[in-house]
């Protein structure tokens, strides 16, 4: 049985006189200890997916339809009290800005002990011991002293390590990391990612990594979902998606990276912008920006189909593939 199984998840936001659909019929599975990347640009619905999985959506957002099965239990309609037993305990979340997660007026030790004692019957001394062990696991120097420090006394990279230690405190089975290193410098990002990878592998923790950075996804994850305007448009093994993307949007995203073009040459750009949620085009949401668009793309919504190792939601994937291979052979 998979650790997490999402079925037809639809999330809507109530507006003054109508509702907008932020997530549209999302389905995917995550095996125990598997690392899954969710990529897309801003407004694609990546973060909403993360929040929905933690059942953290608050008004005006709500889960309209669908199931989120975490080890067989549907967390989509659990009460707050039931969720408290799962959140932080069996699944944990890491956010982009550590200062949002850390309470600035409590010491690191107080925050870690509080989390432990909320979920386990432990004395304060025992909880502190566990906290020190976890801080050591994320390579924090002199962890005993850190317990007495406040978040502002630590650097950005150090804070994000503490957040990872706190996420791991209760040995969760799943970590959802939402852009965990976007606010950090490249050298620090590389350290944190390596650490996260190492901890997930050694503790068999499942990871959902939400990011806009295809390079990070490529190095960290086994499987990838590509999202666009609240829908999964391509899903499959990370290697295959990076090396041989099938959806025109995924191809566009990868080709737009400066590494993919000779220095100084014109980059391949995707025209236009991601549609706003209030004005998602009928048919395929990518159709207004797509260079392979046909009439039926504008009217009929493409369903995900299995194609060349990946699942892709595109009407024209057959034609696209044929034309690309002709281009290459020519």
């Amino acid at each position: 049985m998979s650790l997490l199984s999402v079925r037809d998840l639809t999330v809507k936001f109530a507006m003054r006189d109508n509702t907008v659909t932020a997530l549209d019929n999302i389905s995917f599975d995550l095996a125990k200890g598997e690392r899954l990347g969710i990529v897309g640009e801003s407004g694609a619905g990546k973060s909403i997916t993360g929040f929905a999985l933690m059942n953290l959506l608050s008004r005006p957002g709500f889960i309209d339809n669908g199931k989120i099965l975490f080890e067989g239990e549907d967390i989509a309609n659990m009460s707050d009290a039931q969720m408290r037993g799962i959140r932080g305990n069996r699944m944990a979340m890491i956010f982009q800005d550590p200062m949002v997660t850390l309470n600035p007026v409590l010491t690191i030790g107080q925050q870690m002990v509080e989390t432990l004692m909320a979920h386990r019957k432990l004395s304060k001394a025992e909880a502190e011991q566990i906290a020190v062990v976890k801080l050591r696991e994320v390579y924090i120097p002199s962890p005993e002293e850190r317990l007495a420090q406040y978040p502002h006394e630590l650097s950005g990279g150090m804070r994000q390590r503490i957040i990872i230690a706190m996420a791991l405190l209760l040995d969760p089975e799943l970590i959802i990391a939402d852009e965990p290193t976007t606010a950090l410098d490249v050298t620090i990002q590389a350290d944190i990612m390596e650490l996260l990878l190492e901890l997930c592998q050694s503790n068999k923790v499942g990871l959902i990594l939400i990011t806009h950075d295809l390079g990070v996804v490529s190095q960290m994850t086994e499987r990838t979902l590509v999202m666009y305007a609240g829908k999964i448009i391509e899903a499959g093994r990370t290697r295959e998606i990076i090396n041989d993307p099938q959806h025109p949007y995924t191809q566009g995203l990868i080709n737009a990276l400066p590494q993919q073009t000779k220095p100084g040459m014109r980059l391949k750009q995707i025209p236009g912008n991601m549609p706003s949620l209030t004005a998602i085009p009928a048919g395929c949401p990518f159709s207004p920006r797509c260079e392979y668009v046909r009439d039926h793309c504008r009217t009929t919504r493409p369903e995900p189909v299995q194609y060349a190792h990946v699942e892709v939601a595109c009407h024209e994937v057959n034609r696209l593939h044929r034309e690309n291979s002709e281009e290459q052979s020519a």
Partner: protein, 343 residues
């Protein structure tokens, strides 16, 4: 006249330094230490002894991590900050000691693009007003029609439909706003653009649009760029030369191709190895010890010593000078100089 001057570099920084005082005024300098009252003035050493040259038509990229002083360098060149020491020359004239008034003709030649276009566009001015303002200011002789034509021409050149000119910044997307900010810089026909992280706030597909626009402007208008960024893949694509900054000092300066093929400074090597690659399955980066120290109390010797795997006694005591390498790059590192690094 322009042709007579064009043999020298367009911009030259000579041993520029910038400190920001942390303790301002007499009272803030008084501190207690070990039971004694002492006076102490602390300052952030943002830019230390930086010398750079930018030739006409090139795109010099300045890279480094947060706090390395790259934005301060941009602001010093644009005249928004005054250096504490050193000289800045533009087209043969010294500009760092000029008055505000005598800077005005220079500002027409030198324009700046910032990271967040929402902050650099006035939210109460529509696009027409925002774009007309610099044209009018720098060309007092222009008639209304001429101003409007100029604005429409620039808007078209950055791919913004002139019929949107009555709209306000909030009605545009991030990428469009950045294009409008670029248009605003281009309306006065500058020759030199300082771009401070112009695409960092944008999505990948939009980044490509804006980068293409900047490349086009470079080719069509013969612009010279100083491009500040932390994104090395953008540097490789856009820059002709690269200066790597660490803690306010230039540690390596080289042609883009040379730097990416053969990085020499241990910091440059670590930085390049940390970029997540698409094709590479395994992260295999050089781990640096610790994090960037604060620029308040600069260490004696090499600024990179605390994180460098090759640091020895000389690195702790003596600050390395930039030394020219056989392939033309300038590297400030004792280990490179003494050939101590093992590959």
């Amino acid at each position: 006249m322009k042709d007579a001057m064009s043999d020298g570099p367009l911009l030259e920084l000579k041993q520029v330094e910038k400190r920001f005082d942390l303790d301002q005024g007499f009272l803030e300098t008084i501190k207690m230490r070990n039971g004694k009252v002492i006076r102490e003035k602390r300052s952030v050493h943002a830019v230390n002894n930086v010398s750079l040259k930018v030739d006409r038509g090139e795109a010099l990229c300045v890279v480094g991590e947060s706090g390395c002083g790259k934005s301060t360098v941009a602001r010093l060149i644009a005249g928004l900050l005054k250096p504490n020491a050193g000289e800045i020359h533009y087209d043969g004239t010294r500009i760092d000691n000029q008055s505000r008034r005598s800077m005005i003709p220079l500002r027409k030649k030198m324009q700046m693009i910032f990271q967040n276009p929402y902050a650099s566009l006035n939210s109460r001015m529509n696009i027409q007003q925002a774009l007309e303002e610099p044209v009018r200011y720098h060309n007092p002789g222009f008639s209304r029609g001429e101003v409007r034509d100029k604005v429409a021409e620039v808007m078209r050149s950055v791919g913004v439909d002139p019929s949107w000119s009555a709209r306000y910044p909030h009605e545009f997307s991030g990428g469009q706003r950045q294009r409008i900010a670029i248009a605003r810089a281009l309306t006065v026909d500058p020759e030199f653009i300082i771009a401070d992280e112009p695409i960092s706030a944008l999505d990948v597909s939009i980044q490509a649009q804006v980068l293409n626009l900047m490349l086009e402007a470079k080719d069509q208008r013969g612009l010279t760029y100083l491009f500040i960024t932390h994104d090395l893949s953008v540097v490789q694509h856009f820059g002709t030369r690269v200066a790597v900054l660490y803690l306010g000092s230039v540690c390596e300066l080289a042609d883009t191709a040379t730097l990416f093929e053969n990085p020499k400074h241990p910091y440059t090597r670590a930085l390049l190895s940390a970029v997540p690659q698409l094709k590479d399955d395994r992260p295999n980066h050089i781990r640096l010890r610790g994090e960037i120290p604060t620029p308040i109390n600069l260490p004696q010797g090499c600024p990179f010593q605390s994180r460098c795997a090759y640091a020895n006694d000389r690195c702790l005591a003596e600050q390395p000078r930039p030394v020219q390498q056989p392939d033309g790059s300038m590297v400030a590192c004792h280990a490179v100089e003494e050939d101590r690094m093992v590959d």
